[in-house]
């Protein structure tokens, strides 16, 4: 069976011994860092300009959207998460997910205490 052949091949993959995590050390180039740097500076400029305009209740939403975009860029490229193993990617995602769960659940409690007064 072709499936067995493939399995056998992976089973004897020498990398299982030499690199059990199948993690490779990816080097991000200075040019890529340069692009990231410029993107972050543009994001900063945008958030300052957006704050000068009156978007009503959307002002904080826009500011946070830009901040989240910048944070994701930093995490993916400056912190190399884009090039890391699945373990690291899932760990990072779990951290932010847990944080959102904690904020949401705590907020539900506070909002429901003074129901209708918000």
């Amino acid at each position: 069976m072709a499936h067995d052949t493939v399995h056998e091949h992976h089973y004897h993959d020498p990398a299982n011994v030499t690199n059990p995590e199948h993690a490779e050390h990816h080097i991000v180039t200075p040019l890529q860092y340069g692009f990231v740097y410029i993107a972050l500076l543009i994001g900063t400029l945008l958030t300052v300009l957006a704050a000068d305009q009156n978007f009503g209740f959307m002002n904080p939403v826009i500011a946070l959207a830009i901040a989240c975009t910048k944070a994701v860029i930093v995490i993916l490229f400056f912190m190399h998460v884009k090039y890391q193993s699945h373990l690291i990617k899932i760990t990072v995602a779990c951290g932010f997910f847990t944080f959102i769960v904690l904020v949401t659940m705590t907020l539900l409690d506070y909002i429901s205490r003074a129901w209708g007064l918000w």
Binding site: V28, L41, N59, P60, L64, A71, H80, I88, F96, T98
Partner: protein
Amino acid sequence: MDNSIATTEPLMPRETAVHEEHEHVFIPQHRHHFETEEQQREAGSFGMWLFLLTEIMFFGGLFFAYLLYRNWYYDAFVPASNQLSVPLGGANTAILITSGFFMALGVWAAEVRKRALLVLFLILTTVFGLAFLGIKYVEYHEKWEKHHIPGASFDISEFVNPPKDAAGKPTQHALPPDVAEKTQIFFFLYFAMTGMHALHMIIGIGLLVWLIARAQRGDFSSGYVAPIENFGLYWHFVDIVWLFLFPLLYLINRHPLQ
């Protein structure tokens, strides 16, 4: 080699088994309890990220407090927040991003084993970190002079009688004294959040000085990148905290809801 047996059979002479498969290359930083150097590096990154997750929870509590109190005392938070200087905060954001850029270049310099460049980039990271703290000092000092530090000597006059612009129009909506007192909560959170952030930067700069000395000695220019890489993760995390502090504290109250 059957890898599953090797990991479940402690009596098996692992070293011999490994030697059958590949030639042993001696790497000084490779600790004996890790199978390979990649595994050691992966475990190190994983541990660093777990630490950063606890930091997310730590700063997350402060961000949550800000979210809640801003909703409760919105009228007080608006003029208090607008009292901060956007040019100073914006400049500090650019300075911190620049510091993070040089940190990222430092990781690259260590990866391609360029000692002089690594030292240079780490020094630039430190210089921009110190510049950030310098501007932060200017901002804190202004709060001190205006009695905007929460406590017994807090002065609400600027919020009860807002300063007038050239045309004689008040720059902010005047607050009743009891609401104006609540601006202290904004300033308390401002100092708690930016102070905690600044403390992380001071710790980071201490670590940078130590890393510069070791980099100068050549510790990180022969393939041993992990300390630089993991410190980079910490430094970028501190950047990210500021990327959220800047809009939340300085920017989002310029056009208050009526």
